[in-house]
Amino acid sequence: MIEIEHLSKSFGSTHAVRDVSFTVPKGEIIGLLGPNGSGKTTIMRVLTGFFPPTCGRARVAGFDAAEQSLALRQKIGYLPESVVLYPDMRVRRFLEFCADVRGINGARKRQRLEVMIHDCGLHEVADRLIGTLSKGYRQRVGLAQALLHEPEVLILDEPTVGLDPRQIVDIRDRIRALRGSTTVLLSTHILPEVSMTCTGVIIIDRGRIVAEDTAEALTRRVQGAERTLVRVEGPAEAVSSVLNGVAGVARVELTNGTGSAGTCELITHSTAGEPVRRAIAAAIVGHGWGLVEVRPLALSLEDLFVRLVAEEEIQNENEKPGTGNPK
């Protein structure tokens, strides 16, 4: 559905995107993950036909983004990063405008408007000015305008940024519900979001693809070992030595944890996850200490990112001597 081949985009001397290639098959939800300024929005703007790439090709739903942008724009729904809508238009009137611009009329227009207002929970605000809506409602209106014409491809730029937790869950559910029927490309810088909503993830940094896989596979790949946080009511040194003896635990780290007096906080490094946690819990209870907390430590995006970029750089180092050594 989305095919990008050797896409580059530069603005003057800044290279926003460099030689990026990937495809998104029909019905998949792919997350574009990367820090701010890594080129996510630029890729999305190329895909929406907003501007053509400097080099390379981008095709969406079979249409070239540069040459057939008008036909392409019929097929896509786009939610821009800072959902900016006309503040002096009423919600219903704005959605009507979107339908009119896309040539949806008559019974289908009425039906789609009702479905969108219902699905996106806009009943209460349908007759309010967009300018008076909260960020969460505006995001929903943005999603409604993107889904109004039942697009084949949906492009969402940071769909959950600036929302409260309940709204984030809400938007994620809506996106997940599209799996199979609509091809979705969404950008984010929140790692758990990708594992929760996406079937695949593409990580980019400074305009280049660093990694491309499923979220789980990527996490496993860079993690190698699992880290578990353990908080125990008991003497730190003794607990540490006991945990070192538990089968499967490779290393124990004492943190100067924030727990109350008498408790200690440790991080264990192990190769397997769940069985080791069970063994740890058993060992602690067996020694008569109070088990306060055993929790696997999730890898943060920062960790994942730093490691992926480091891997990349090591690869480049290894390749260098061959090419950079003429004599």
Partner: protein, 267 residues
């Protein structure tokens, strides 16, 4: 052979039909956004107040000094030329927001990812503003109707004058839309438009400052010399062509600016 241009125009018309729905949606949005903002009412009110004052003083002037003389030459011509100044000061306030506001808000990004041609967008904004301009001018029709009840006079030359004012308005809009497409700031757009339009006025105002050859060129270019014929009640094809060219030229520039997003920076 004569059928050839006809076929072409038919083809173009059929082509445009396909997208007229999009155009109408955009046009309606632009027009409505004028009527929901206080700016339109303020500008129109100020325009009509100033025009009304000009009408009153010009009429007193005519009654005092030119009574019994040709009303067209001594009253309507003066008034039309005065209205021109009020238009010059008020039209930029109506055009300044057209693109600048969308760029400032960022809605232009959303709009340009809809299946909308740049030309349709420009035409919608231009037409909406032209309608508003026509409404403002229609407000001044009260004066001739009032005078006509007191003392009948020939209508046709005045209609030519109004056509001139409307064409002048269209030129102001084309120029204003172009300037608005260049900047994110409405104030900058408004001020720059007033500056450009005023320059087109004063290009030929001082004969002594330019050589006779240059003056001949300037008079050709000056928007306000082309308006004089209309004020006299004469519709000259040359003048109509001049205004249409002016509109076409600035619209062409605006389309190029819209297109520049393809090779320039982010927005």
């Amino acid at each position: 052979m004569a059928g050839f241009p006809f076929c072409i125009s038919c083809f173009l018309f059929l082509n445009s039909l396909e997208s007229h729905v999009t155009f109408l949606a955009l046009f309606r949005k632009e027009l409505v956004s004028y009527f929901v903002s206080p700016l339109f009412y303020v500008v129109t009110a100020v325009f009509l107040c100033l025009s009304g004052y000009y009408f009153y003083t010009d009429l007193i002037f005519f009654v005092t000094f030119g009574f019994g003389m040709n009303i067209l030459e001594n009253f309507w011509q003066l008034l039309l030329v005065d209205l021109r100044l009020v238009m010059l000061l008020s039209m930029p306030l109506l055009t300044m927001r057209l693109f600048a506001e969308e760029k400032k808000l960022g809605t232009i990004e959303l709009l340009l990812t809809y299946p909308v041609r740049d030309g349709e967008l420009l035409l919608a904004k231009f037409s909406a503003c032209a309608v508003v301009c026509a409404i403002m001018l229609a407000g001044t029709l009260l004066y001739p109707i009032y005078v006509h009840t007191l003392q009948p006079f020939p209508w046709l030359p005045l209609i030519a004058g109004y056509l001139g004012l409307f064409l002048l308005g269209l030129s102001f809009i084309a120029c204003g839309v172009f300037v608005s497409s260049l900047t994110e700031s409405q104030v900058v757009a408004g001020m720059a438009t007033i500056g450009i339009l005023l320059l087109f006025w004063i290009l030929s105002w001082n004969e002594a400052a330019t050589s006779p050859e240059l003056l001949r060129v300037l008079i050709r270019v000056s928007m306000f010399d082309h308006f004089q014929n209309f004020a006299h009640g004469v519709i000259d094809a040359q003048d109509v062509a001049y205004f249409l060219f002016f509109v076409g030229f600035f619209s062409f520039l605006t389309l190029r600016v819209l297109e520049s997003r393809k090779w320039r920076g982010r927005r």
